[in-house]
Amino acid sequence: MKVYLDNSSTTRPYDEVTDTVTYYMKEEYGNPSSLHHMGIETEKALKKARRKVADAMSSQACETGDIFFTSGGTESDNMAFRCAALSAGRRRGKIVTSVIEHPAVLETCRRLENLGFEIKYAGADSSGVVRADEMKEAIDDDTIMVSLMTVNNETGAVQPVEEVSEAKGGALFHTDAVQAFGKMHIPLKNADMVSLSGHKIHGPMGTGAQWIRKGLHLQPMILGGGQENAMRSGTENVPGCAGLGKAAEMAEDRIEQRTETMSRVSGYLLEGIKDQIKDIRVNSPEKRCPAILNVSFTGTRGEVILHMLEQSGIYVSTGSACSSRKDGKSYVLKAMGLADDDIGGAIRFSFSEFNTVEEMDYVLDKLKESVERFRKLGSFR
């Protein structure tokens, strides 16, 4: 049996997405900038895809902002910060964000710090929610940008985006909505930039988008032939963008049904873990994105549990895929104040609509077995 529970790392593309990508590679392969018919056809495809992506974000997204295609969540995050920084010009200024953001945000902030920007990182509480007060208090007249992720990628904790964005003052507000996209509607009321990714919603890898509020004039990061309204030059990845559009369309189509499935399945697993396995800590808060469930099996080593589960065809992750390859421990769980024993034993289960309750029975069985096996043997650490 193969049970894929690593959907926050990446998802299996929908067959319809694969077909769309194939179509725009085999049949309709024109360059959208070409003046002839073939170019016009792919230009239309991009336009349609933009619309679908916006609609999947929220019902107002299309009216109030524009979609710019990028190569993925990381580029979108980079674009948001770098464009805001470039637009701030020589006066530099302050950026307010949180300690639990994705590395794409944190590393970009670190770079900007070296370039003279002041960065304030707000902390998180023990449930993984960023302290809104801390962020709001940090915002002042000097602040050029405020950024808070919609859903945390390791714990699934939904962040107080609306509350913080209301206090943005004269600053730009950005949210990394990579994990929220397709699973909930993105709060846009005070948002100026929203970063999205394609492959977390059954779209192709290497696709993503940035939603930018209409009327906002930002300096582009990538210069060249002026594609994407000069915000992101370079010939568009038409098959990828069309595939992303298709995935967004399907996400929006069945959003309630899908989130209901994920809630039910992940809830079932959570209850089962609580019932059957001792010494655990649930690291996802009550108010979590149903696609993510993070649990620590105290005293075990997440990586070993991961490999044991893999032997039974169950695929999970420790922390996020972006950081699990490094030796370091989860900075998100650390920020939540977890003990080392809990940080080391954390597993992230992440769901898609394809997961079933029956699968969870199998997972529970194997999980119990693995945790017991580990605990019996230990690893001296």
Binding site: E303, H307, D327, L377, G378, F380
Partner: protein, 394 residues
């Protein structure tokens, strides 16, 4: 002249061999032939204790030097010009040769050195050097002679029928031709040391096979992929070889359950040696090779090595025993294994690392601990569970 570039390969230590000299030279020539097989029209010949490589002019000289340099037993390589052993011909060729060098880099001063291998040749070495030097001065008017610190040295190697002119001696690794010194089984981890140990033994002519121990699921598949990459780099020098891959987790589980925690590592090391010995015997290897270095970690103290060594009958080669870590790292960098070795994946020795391992184990005590285990059964099972992979040069 001819359309081929010629390279003189000097055999270093092989040349010191007495009656076996032709055998070593033949093995070296064979190895060079194999390394250069990917190019067309290569000729490798032995002549008067040297090996001559001839390659089509279209093939980049650097490529030939690089590939030939990978053969153990090569002391040095010189791209050369071949000329009839006649003073006028040699002088003309030397002028041409110098003009070519001058077209590639700025030269102001030079010196000619000559060696007369054919003692019947009527001109003596210093006179050859002087005559050729004069010819070059005349032919390349801007140059001056500087016998102390010249920009360019030109060597004339005068032999019976043909002579050679060359400029530099590019050093090889030295050592002895691969395959002239038996076969050994290296205990290959993913670390810095063991690939270097394998390389050093191969440099002395030993053929290599490898055994790799892992503890999946306690170690990851990526850790194994890393070892395969390391093995692939080794195969560049050691030629294609077999790697035996063995999961030691059952052994480790037995040790952890039944023996004192502080002895875990040393007990595991003994099991590894014994499993390796069986694999080696099976694979026709007469020796074990490890990357141990005296005092580097708890399991490599003098006492610990004594206990480990007592586990097996077969000779255990430890070429790094007296090297410092930095020296080992330098070699690893030279042979391109370093960057792969430092990728941070756990190996099976670190999985059950005790908090306070014994640093001065006593053999009797360790044997007593071991007697609590079905050692033979565990070893047998480990040997039988092995997976064998053919490793090709990367």
């Amino acid at each position: 002249m001819n359309e081929k570039n010629i390279f003189i390969v000097r055999c270093g230590e092989t040349a010191l061999k007495g009656q076996n000299k032709p055998y070593f030279e033949r093995m070296l020539a064979e190895r060079i032939r194999k390394l250069l097989k990917k190019f067309h029209g290569i000729q490798v010949n032995r002549h008067e204790g040297l090996i001559f490589v001839r390659a089509d002019k279209e093939i980049d000289r650097k490529e030939i030097i690089k590939e030939t340099g990978k053969a153990f037993g090569v002391a040095s390589i010189s791209p050369a010009v071949e000329v009839r052993s006649d003073m006028d011909d040699i002088c003309a060729a030397a002028v041409e040769y110098m003009k070519e060098i001058m077209s590639e880099k700025k030269v102001a001063t030079f010196k000619v050195d000559a060696k007369r291998a054919d003692k019947n040749f009527p001109v003596k070495s210093p006179d050859i050097a002087r005559t050729v030097g004069a010819a070059v001065l005349k032919g390349c008017k801007v140059l001056k002679v500087d016998v102390h610190d010249p920009d360019v040295y030109i060597f004339v190697d005068l032999r019976k029928d043909v002579s050679y002119i060359y400029q530099q001696k590019i050093r090889g690794f030295g050592g002895l031709p691969l395959g002239t010194n038996g076969k050994g089984l290296v205990l290959l981890s993913g670390g810095i040391d063991s690939p270097v140990a394998a390389w050093m033994m191969a440099k002395r002519g030993m053929m290599i096979e490898a055994v790799h121990f892992h503890s999946y699921p306690y170690t990851s598949e990526r850790a194994q992929a890393k070892v395969e990459e390391l093995a692939g780099i080794l195969a560049v020098y050691c030629s294609r070889f077999r790697m035996h891959i063995i999961n030691m987790l059952p052994v480790q589980e037995a040790i952890v359950k039944n023996c004192p925690q502080e002895e875990t590592t040393i007990l595991l090391r003994r099991f590894m040696m014994r499993v390796a010995e069986k694999v080696a015997a099976d694979a026709g290897c007469g020796m074990l090779i490890t990357g141990e270095s005296l005092g580097q970690v708890a399991s490599q103290t003098a006492e610990a090595l004594t206990v480990t060594d007592a586990a097996v009958q077969m000779p255990v080669m430890r070429p790094l025993i007296a090297l410092d870590k930095v020296d080992i790292m330098d070699i690893a960098k030279k042979i391109d294994t370093y960057d792969v070795s430092i990728q941070p994946y756990e190996d099976c020795c670190t999985v059950f690392l005790p908090k306070h391992p014994v640093t001065k184990p006593k053999l009797e005590r360790i044997l007593r601990s071991e007697s609590r285990l079905d050692a033979e059964g565990l070893i047998e099972a480990a040997v039988n569970s092995r997976e064998v992979k053919e490793i090709y040069p990367l």
